[in-house]
Amino acid sequence: MPRLLTKTRFTAFALSFALVFALLFPLTGRADSKIRIMTATTDLASLAQEVGGDKVDVESVARGYQDPHFVDPKPSFLLKLSKAELLIVVGLELEIGWLPPLITQSSNPRIQVGAPGYLDASRFAKILEIPTGQVTRAEGDVHPLGNPHYWLDPDNALRIAKGIQNKLSEMRPNDAAYFAQRYDAFEQRLKQSDEQWLAQMKPYAGRKVVTYHRSWPNFAEHFGLNVVGYVEPRPGIPPSPQHTVELIGQMKREGVKSIMVEPYFDLKTPNSIARETGGQVVVLMPSVGGEKEITDYFKLFDYDIAKLKKAFDETH
C-alpha cells in the first residue's frame, strides 16, 4: 500500500517535471525578421516567394512531382510546421487526407485553421467545377467544393499573390510597401509572360485534349484548350478496360491526339491509348518543382507550354 502511494506520487512528480521542462525550453525560437512560411504545395511556395522576396523563408510540404492528394504526414514536417508563422493551403479538400493531422499535431497555435497564420488560397481564386445538385462518390473522389487544381491559371496566381501580399503586410506592416512593390513587379512580369504564353497557344485554340485526372480545367480554360475526356473513369478511380475502350473510340471519332498526364501517374494506359489512336502522351507538370528546371511559377508554364506546343505540332 505505501509502495503504491509512493509510486503515484512519483508519477505526479514526473508529470509536473515534464510540464516545467516543457515551459522552460520552448521550441518556438525568437521571431527573427524573416517570416517563416510553410505551404502545402510548391506552387503556393513559389507565389509566396515572389511576393515575400528576401523577407520570407518559404518551404512546401508536398513536392512538385508528388500527387498532392496523397502526401504522407511525416513527423519531419511537424517540426517545420511547429515553427511556421504562416501556413498557406490549397484548400477545397485537396489536402484533406494529410494536412489536418499535421496542423493539429504541430501544436502551433499560429497556423491552426482560422488562426491569423492560416491562409486558404482558394478564397482568392476563381474555382471551376463546383458541383451542383447532389454530390455522391458514385462520381469518384469528387471535391464537393470545386476543382482544387485552380493554381494552373495565371489569373488565379495574381489573385493568390494579392491575397498573400495582403496577409504578409498584415503580419509585417513595416514591410507593406516592400510587399506591394514585389507584388506589382510580379504582376507586371506575369502579365508579360502570360501574353507570350497566350500568343504561343493561340494557334491551337479549341484543340481537343484528353487528360488523366481532372487537374487541368483552369489551365484549359485560360489557354483555350478543350478537355473532352479523362483516362480515369472517375476522379481517383484507376483506368478500367471498358472506359479505356470507350475513350479510344471517342478520341478516334473526334480526332483527339493529345493525352495530358501528370508525372505521378502510371503511363501504361495512356501509352496504349496513344498507340491505338495514333496520338501522343504529354507528361505535363502540374506543379513547380515537377522537374528540376521548373524552379518557379514562370518556368512551370514555360515548360508545359513548350511541351504542349511540341506535341500539338507533332501530331498534326
Binding site: L15, G97, I127
Partner: protein, 447 residues
C-alpha cells in the same frame, strides 16, 4: 485584374444587406400601433433610396472598371454579376434574392463556409468479417458485422478540436475514442482530454479498419488487452523534444483512469494508470524513413489494488514510398516487442505472490504492388500474460484489394500454433475475409 471588380461589388452588397437587417430590427422594436405603418413606410422609403443610390454607385463603378481594366468584351463572372443586377424598379421587392443570386453565381473561393455549415465531419466505416476453417482455442463467428464506426470530427473553437469515434459492434455500443485536443497551449504542448487509445506502441493506436490485417496480432490479445487494447479515459500530454539534427523526437505522458479491457482494472479511485511514450523518427531519404518508439504502461490488474501490471514495448517501422509513384508502390516493415510483468498469485503454490514475466512480438510487412493490390504477411509469437509457460505462435498471409479509396476487400490466411497447456498445442487453420466501406467525410490517411 478585371475579375477583382467582383470584390468591391460583393462587399457593397453585403453591407447593404446588413443595413437592411438593422432597419428591420428597428422596425420590430417600434411597438406603437399608430406609428407602425408610418414608420414602416418611412423606413422602406429610406431603404429604397439607399439601395438605389448604391446601385447607381455600383453601376458606375463597374462601368469604370470595365472601361479601364478590360477593353475586350467582358466574360465570366462579370457577366454573371451584371445579370444578377436587379433593375431599379424591382429593388424594394427583391434585394434579398438578388444578393442570394450573386452568392450562388460567384465563383471566387470555395463554397466551404456555406456547404458544411457548422456540422462536424461525419463518417461511418463498416467492417464486415467472415471466418472459415477451424480454431478450437478462440473460435470466431462465421459471419459478422464486426463494427460500424461512426466518426465525428470538428474544430470546437479557436483553441481546440474534437474527435469522437463510436463503434456499434455485434454486442453493443462502445465509445472507442472521444477526446478534445487543445492545440493552442503554450510551450509547444499538445493536450488531449477524453477517452483515447493510449500511445503505447503502434498497433494499440490504430483503429480496426486502419490495420493492415483483419485481426490483431496474437500479442495484442495475450498481453495488451485484446482488440480494444489500452483505451481509457484520461489526460494525454505530448510535446516535441529537442533532438539531434534530422531526428524528430516526441514524448508523451498520459494519465489514465486505469480501466482497459482485461489488462488494467481500477478497483479504487487512486488506482490510476500511466503511459509514457517516446518516439524517434528520421527521414533516411525522400522516400524512406525510420520510425522508432519506446513505451511504458503501468496499471492495476483485475486481482486488485495490490496487483500491478507493467508493460514495456519497443517498436520499429521502416517505410519506403517513392514520391513519384506513391499511389502505386510502397513498402512497410514493422516489428513490435512487448514485455509484460504481471503481479498475481501463483497458480502452483496457493497464496504465493509472484510476478509473471511474459514476452510477445509480431513482425509484419506489406507491399503495395499497384494502385489496387497490396500483399502482406505477419509473424506472431506471444506468451500468455497470466502464464508465461504458454506460448502461441502464428503467421498470416494477407491480400488486399481496393476498388477505390473508400472501400477495401481483404483476405487473410491465418495459421496458429496455440498453447492449451505447458506442452499441449492446438493448431488453427483459418481463412478470414473482410469488406470495409467508408461513408461520408474523407478521413485522414493513417501514417
Amino acid at each position: 485584374m478585371k475579375r477583382f471588380a467582383v470584390l468591391p461589388v460583393l462587399l457593397l452588397f453585403s453591407s447593404s444587406a446588413h443595413a437592411q437587417d438593422a432597419t428591420s430590427v428597428a422596425i420590430k422594436r417600434d411597438v406603437s400601433p399608430a406609428n407602425t405603418e408610418d414608420a414602416r413606410m418611412k423606413a422602406l422609403e429610406a431603404q429604397v433610396r439607399t439601395l438605389a443610390g448604391e446601385v447607381t454607385l455600383l453601376r458606375s463603378e463597374l462601368k469604370e472598371l470595365r472601361e479601364t481594366k478590360s477593353p475586350q468584351p467582358s466574360s465570366g463572372p462579370q457577366v454573371l454579376l451584371a445579370s444578377a443586377h436587379p433593375e431599379p424598379g424591382m429593388l424594394p421587392s427583391s434585394p434579398a434574392p438578388a444578393a442570394a443570386q450573386v452568392a450562388q453565381t460567384q465563383t471566387f473561393g470555395g463554397a466551404s463556409g456555406n456547404a458544411k455549415l457548422l456540422n462536424p465531419d461525419i463518417s461511418l466505416i463498416g467492417d464486415f468479417i467472415g471466418t472459415a476453417g477451424h480454431n478450437k482455442v478462440s473460435p470466431e463467428r462465421s459471419l459478422e458485422m464486426h463494427e460500424s464506426e461512426v466518426g465525428m470530427q470538428a474544430i470546437i473553437d479557436p483553441y481546440a478540436r474534437a474527435d469522437a469515434f463510436i463503434s456499434f459492434g455485434e454486442t453493443g455500443v462502445n465509445v472507442e475514442e472521444a477526446y478534445v485536443t487543445f492545440t493552442s497551449l503554450p510551450g509547444g504542448l499538445l493536450l488531449k482530454v477524453g477517452k483515447k487509445r493510449a500511445d503505447f506502441g503502434k498497433v494499440n493506436t490504430i483503429h480496426n479498419h486502419a490495420l493492415p490485417f483483419i485481426d490483431r496480432p496474437l500479442v495484442t490479445n495475450n498481453l495488451v488487452g485484446g482488440e480494444d487494447g489500452i483505451d481509457d479515459a484520461g489526460l494525454f500530454l505530448s510535446r516535441f523534444l529537442p533532438a539531434p539534427k534530422n531526428w524528430f523526437l516526441e514524448g508523451s505522458a498520459e494519465v489514465l483512469r486505469g480501466d482497459s479491457a482485461d489488462v488494467f482494472q481500477a478497483s479504487r479511485r487512486q488506482d490510476v494508470g500511466v503511459v509514457g511514450h517516446l518516439r524517434a523518427y528520421r527521414d533516411l531519404s525522400e522516400s524512406t524513413n525510420l520510425d522508432l518508439g519506446l513505451s511504458y504502461a503501468r496499471g492495476h490488474n483485475n486481482l486488485g489494488s495490490n496487483f500491478l501490471t507493467n508493460l514495456y514495448s519497443g517498436d520499429a517501422t521502416l517505410r519506403w514510398k517513392p514520391l513519384r509513384r506513391a499511389i502505386y508502390n510502397s513498402f512497410l516493415f514493422r516489428t513490435e516487442l512487448f514485455w509484460s510483468a504481471r503481479d498475481q498469485l501463483s497458480a502452483a503454490v496457493p497464496n504465493l505472490f509472484q510476478t509473471q514475466h511474459a514476452f510477445g512480438m509480431y513482425s509484419s510487412a506489406e507491399y503495395r504492388v499497384n494502385r489496387r493490390w497490396t500483399v502482406g504477411g505477419r509473424f506472431d509469437r506471444s506468451g500468455h500474460a497470466t502464464d508465461a509457460r504458454l506460448t502461441d505462435t502464428g503467421f498470416s498471409g494477407i491480400l488486399t484489394y481496393w476498388p477505390s479509396e473508400f472501400s477495401q476487400i481483404r483476405g487473410q490466411y491465418r495459421f496458429g500454433h496455440l498453447a492449451t497447456g505447458p506442452s499441449d498445442f492446438s493448431n488453427a487453420n483459418e481463412i478470414l475475409f473482410q469488406f470495409l466501406f467508408v461513408m461520408g467525410a474523407h478521413g485522414a490517411h493513417p501514417f
